[in-house]
């Protein structure tokens, strides 16, 4: 019975331990899955959204970009930021976030540039340098002159005097520089006549102004009348009457706007149809509204006559009155929408002078805010109005973007293989929150790709995905590490690990051979072995510090400029020569001792070999000491000083430091492999007349080969994941000169390098825009994990094969 209780308790313990184990394994699995998922999905092209955001006292915002992530408080969106040379990301308060205000527009494209990250928008203009035109110089001059003058006139007509000087300068430039090929600027999709457009705009603005003037006058009249008349009915009646007048005015205005718009361009039939449709819709709606209102006015008139002093009715009227006030403001809003349509047109021309903001709609926003303050429109209602308005605005833009424009960028990339053109794009930017959209000129030579992500099929997306991975693995980073590849980091990691392995394996194998094959077991040997095991646990940063202190500041400085540069006191030369003599005689004695060992008797062998070893060690140490303190050595890179060559972090020093770091691993696994070599083989070899070294070389080492290889692989796996020592030893987030290139002598041991692990650290912690570097970080992590995992896997396979092969012993 007692045993039963105990076993139950044991069961509970086992279950508990098992549960913890399962928990830990589960967490590890989740981590691995997370890394794999984030790494694998890092380069999948994400769709681009236009996000319309409302904000109480500010103008609404239009953000164009990819949604990156979302937490309880905010949503992060990657937007383009052509102004600052890097991609930007924006945090949006979750309170302002509304999924319904996220619009996925087909026309928006992602333009990946080499210098300034990604831009989002659509190509509007393409400027080409036409070489063939350059042949006839006079034609060119005339063309350029006419064009510039035309542009200048436009600006003079329209804009301030201050730009005139610049423009005249431009004319002067183009005239003096006659051989320059002509510059042709075309609007993609349709042609415009500037003068006509401007006349139309002015006319419209005049009309709008006079309309507003009469509105104000009407308001005044109403105000005067109101004082005399009864509150309530009379006020309401008057308002309604006034509304009617306004609405009719608006109808007229819209009519005019349409006419103006039609006159502006030689619109394509489709565009014209869309525009007409839009204006007709407005008119229809207004007319409907007018009819309804007339009916209500009539009813109101009747009832006013019937029950002049009905209190309940008065209240009802009051409400209707308020409603109509907000209605009136909505009308005004519509009016300004019509204005903004026109100013959007203006924007296209504004584009010719670079990035000029379209600020007219801001007036409409201010008015909207005023409405909200004045009337009882709830904030949700305002938001709704705002979002509808924003969608309308977007719709307006979309309606006027032709299919040629959408495909123009991609076609251009194909046609202009020399990348001489420029695209002017309607883009969003971070500097002034993305409303309004603005123009940005991008030289095609800087454009990496133009992707219409929202219009892509899955197959095209897969192609883009594969292309990005290929780029990631083979190209250098660009746009401040937010795009491109990490090939230099891969190369750096591989070279680093190779040098490290080449250094650590001979060192570790010799040490293990000595420990296992040559010296006999003693407390000292056990101590040495324990120390080696403990070395494996020393924090890697300590190795890093040691590497900096020893390799860079001592050995490196010594190589650069001799003992003086490394801060080492040199010996006076007579003393130095005496020392040389001592060391030489010491090594001579050691040499003869070693010669005797092979002939020695079993008893004398031991002390003689110990003596030889001691002497060898002493003479080696003495030799190093003399070398360090030599008064004759001036260094190999004296000329470059004070700029250090080897006296700073570099791939060689980093490799050697990692070799020290992984030495215990190689020693331990080699020792294990040596211990597994059956003694019968050694004895058999000795009996065949082989010497100790022949036995080791022919029998022991081949047999232990797999164990040594396993040790090397494990060491490489450990080294690949090390970051801390590398940060001190020359790993940089970006380098120009790779440690391995086609320049003689191909391998440059003193150069700084990039490293995958360091890349993960610096991109995720040190980057100015960690959101934008995130895909690179996760892809790098995935790569790193894969490298380490495959090294471990190979190590285990080698070990398993080794076991199977020598199972006989």
């Amino acid at each position: 019975m007692n045993t039963k209780v105990t076993s139950m308790r044991d069961d509970a313990r086992i279950w508990m331990v098992g549960g913890f184990l399962a928990l830990c394994l589960g967490m590890m699995l989740v981590t691995v899955l997370f890394i794999v998922w984030r790494g694998a999905s890092a380069f999948w092209p994400r769709s681009i959204d236009v996000i319309i955001l409302g904000q109480a006292d500010d103008s609404p915002r239009l953000l164009v970009g990819n949604k990156l992530s979302q937490d309880e408080r905010s949503v992060r969106i990657q937007t383009s930021d052509p102004g600052f040379g890097t991609s930007g990301s924006q945090s949006v308060d979750l309170a302002q976030w509304n999924e319904s205000m996220r619009v996925r527009s087909d026309w928006i494209q992602r333009v990946e540039t080499r210098q300034s990250g990604a831009l989002f928008g659509v190509p509007l203009y393409i400027t080409t340098l036409n070489q063939s035109d350059a042949k006839d110089v006079s034609t060119v001059v005339r063309k350029v002159f006419v064009e510039t003058a035309h542009r200048c006139r436009v600006i003079l007509d329209r804009d301030l005097q201050s730009t005139t000087g610049n423009q005249l300068e431009l004319i002067a430039d183009t005239l003096t520089d006659c051989t320059r090929p002509s510059i042709r600027r075309e609007r993609v999709g349709s042609k415009g006549d500037m003068g006509e457009f401007l006349r139309g705009t002015e006319q419209f603005q005049d009309n709008a102004a006079s309309r507003r003037h009469s509105l104000a006058k009407a308001d005044e009249q109403i105000a005067n009348c109101l004082e005399d008349l009864l509150p309530g009915f009379a006020k309401e009646w008057l308002l309604l009457a006034q509304e009617q007048g306004n609405a009719t005015g608006c109808l007229g205005a819209i009519d005019e706007a349409f006419k103006v718009a039609c006159g502006l361009h030689s619109w394509s039939d489709e565009e014209l149809e869309t525009l007409r449709q839009q204006f007709t819709n407005y008119q229809d709606e207004l007319e409907k509204e007018l009819i309804a209102r007339e009916a209500r006015l009539e009813k109101l008139n009747k009832r006013w006559i019937q029950t002049a002093s009905d209190a309940a009715f008065a209240k009802e009227m009051q409400q209707a009155c308020l409603q109509s006030v907000s209605q009136r403001h909505l009308f005004e809003l519509e009016l300004s929408w019509a204005e903004s349509l026109l100013s959007a047109q203006k924007l296209e021309f504004a584009g010719t002078t670079g990035s000029e903001a379209l600020d007219l709609p801001v007036g409409a926003i201010a008015r909207l805010n005023a409405i909200q303050r004045e009337t009882q429109l709830s904030s949700e209602e305002t938001d709704l109005v705002r979002s509808l308005w924003g969608q309308d605005y977007l719709g307006g833009i979309e309606a006027r973007i032709s299919s040629e424009q959408i495909t123009a960028g991609v076609q251009l990339l194909r046609l202009d293989s020399e990348r001489k053109s420029q695209v002017a794009m309607l883009v969003s930017g971070r500097g002034e929150l993305v409303f309004p959209l603005r123009m940005e000129s991008v030289p095609l030579s800087d454009v990496e790709a133009i992707l219409a992500v929202n219009r892509m099929s899955v197959w095209e997306m897969v192609q883009v995905y594969a292309g990005r991975w290929a780029e990631f693995l083979t190209a250098a980073p660009r746009a401040a590490n937010t795009a491109g590849g990490i090939f230099p980091a891969i190369l750096g990691t591989v070279v680093l690990t190779l040098i490290m392995t080449l250094a650590v394996i001979p060192l570790g194998v010799v040490a293990a051979l000595y420990l296992r094959e040559y010296i006999t077991a003693s407390p000292l040997v056990s101590l040495v072995r324990i120390s080696i095991h403990n070395l494996a646990g020393v924090p890697s940063i300590v190795y890093g510090v040691f590497g900096v202190a020893f390799f860079c500041y001592t050995l490196g400085a010594f190589l650069d400029g001799g003992p003086a540069n490394a801060g080492i006191q040199v010996l006076p030369s007579p003393v130095w020569f005496v020392g040389l003599g001592i060391v030489a005689s010491c090594s001579c004695v050691a040499f003869f001792c070693s010669l005797r060992i092979g002939l020695g008797q079993a008893g004398t062998w031991l002390w003689l070999s110990r003596l030889a070893l001691l002497l060898w060690t002493l003479s080696l140490a003495g030799f190093c000491f003399l070398l360090l303190k030599s008064p004759f050595f001036e260094g190999f890179y004296r000329d470059a000083l004070p700029i250090p060559t080897f006296g700073k972090g570099g791939i060689l020093w980093a490799s050697l430091t990692l070799a020290l770091l992984t030495l215990p691993i190689v020693i331990v696994s080699t020792e294990e492999a040596l211990a597994m070599v059956p003694d019968s083989l050694r004895v058999g070899s000795f009996a065949c007349g082989a010497s100790k070294w022949q036995t080791i070389w022919n029998i022991v080492l081949p047999y232990a080969r797999s164990g040594i290889v396993t040790g090397g692989l494990l060491a490489a796996a450990r080294a690949v994941g090390q970051v801390a020592p590398l940060m001190l030893l020359g790993a940089l987030p970006a380098v120009v000169d790779l440690p391995l290139d086609s320049q003689f002598p191909f391998l440059h041991p003193s150069r700084s390098f990039m490293h995958l692990g360091n890349q993960v650290y610096s991109l995720s912690q040190r980057s100015s825009d960690t959101e934008a570097t995130q895909p690179m970080v996760f892809a790098s992590i995935l790569l790193l994990v894969l490298a380490v995992a495959s090294l471990h896997l190979t190590a285990n396979l080698v070990r398993a094969r080794f076991r199977a092969r020598f199972a006989q012993y």
Partner: protein
């Protein structure tokens, strides 16, 4: 033939006393290949061999018998200085091989071992091809000429009665052979350098009767060309293949003489007890 009045040498040995060996004159008179003279050996503080004196006649097969742990392997290994690789050994006395002492400081043990072949209790082919196994002693001796190696390989394998079985498998791993084949491979390896002395340490203990038979035949064939010192636990085997037999007990040589005499009418009753299986 020396005479000894001591009633029971085995009891004396068990009591830790020294024992005088009975050595028949026939072996004393033959021309010796090895002369073991008052040879004692200690593993640390534990004495494993007690003043053994024993001449091994040239060109004959000499068997060492005795109960397990009596020091046969130790004696065998002392002959080609395999003792060098053990720690804490103390030696006294001397062993002469071809007339010169092998424990002299000027003797190169590696050179010595090239003149003495050794086959172990368990077959220990190296993890390399059959060919490489056989020519390994030549290669470590610095012989690289391919034609010589080929010739020696075939000769040795033929002599070890293995040629017909492995002539097509010379490049295969030596580990793929059967146990008996492996042991014969080790014998071929041991005779590759044409040593004048062969040491066999229970070469048949891990083999079936058929393989044992083959190896016994092989020893019979090698008789005359080589001096062979063989350790065995199998009395019939010793009787079948050896010319001389030495009986060792607790590190002491008890009786040593021609096999025919030792197995039919030994001088000492203890020896008779042992070889007839009444004791041990």
């Amino acid at each position: 033939m020396s005479q000894d009045p001591s009633p029971n040498r085995l009891e004396a040995a068990a009591g830790g006393k020294g024992v005088d060996a009975v050595i028949h004159e026939r072996v004393l008179n033959a021309e010796p290949c090895i002369e073991i003279q008052k040879f004692s050996l200690w593993y640390g503080k534990k004495q494993a061999l007690h003043e053994i004196t024993m001449p091994v006649p040239r060109g004959q097969v000499t068997a060492l018998v005795g109960p397990s742990g009596c020091g046969k392997t130790t004696l065998l290994r002392s002959v080609n200085r395999m003792t060098d690789f053990m720690d804490g050994l103390t030696l006294r006395g001397s062993i002469l091989f071809e007339g010169s002492s092998i424990y002299e400081p000027k003797v190169d043990p590696v050179e010595l071992r090239r003149r003495i072949g050794m086959v172990f209790q368990d077959p220990n082919p190296f993890p390399m091809s059959v060919f490489e196994n056989v020519v390994y002693p030549l290669k470590v001796a610095g012989i690289q000429k391919r034609s010589t190696l080929n010739k020696v390989c075939e000769q040795s394998l033929r002599r070890a009665a293995l040629w017909d079985e492995v002539r097509d498998r010379l490049t295969e791993s030596g580990l793929k052979l059967s146990g008996g084949q492996q042991q014969r491979l080790c014998i071929a390896r041991a005779i590759a350098t044409k040593p004048s002395l062969l040491l066999f340490d229970e070469p048949c203990s891990a083999l079936d009767p058929l393989a044992t038979r083959k190896i016994e035949d092989l020893v019979g064939e090698l008789r005359g060309k080589y001096t062979i010192l063989i350790v065995t636990h199998n009395m019939q085997q010793a009787a079948r293949i050896s010319d001389n037999t030495g009986f060792i007990y607790l590190g002491r040589l008890i009786e040593y003489g021609p096999t025919s005499q030792i197995f039919t009418k030994p001088f000492l009753p203890e020896t008779e007890d042992y070889v007839t299986g009444r004791f041990g």
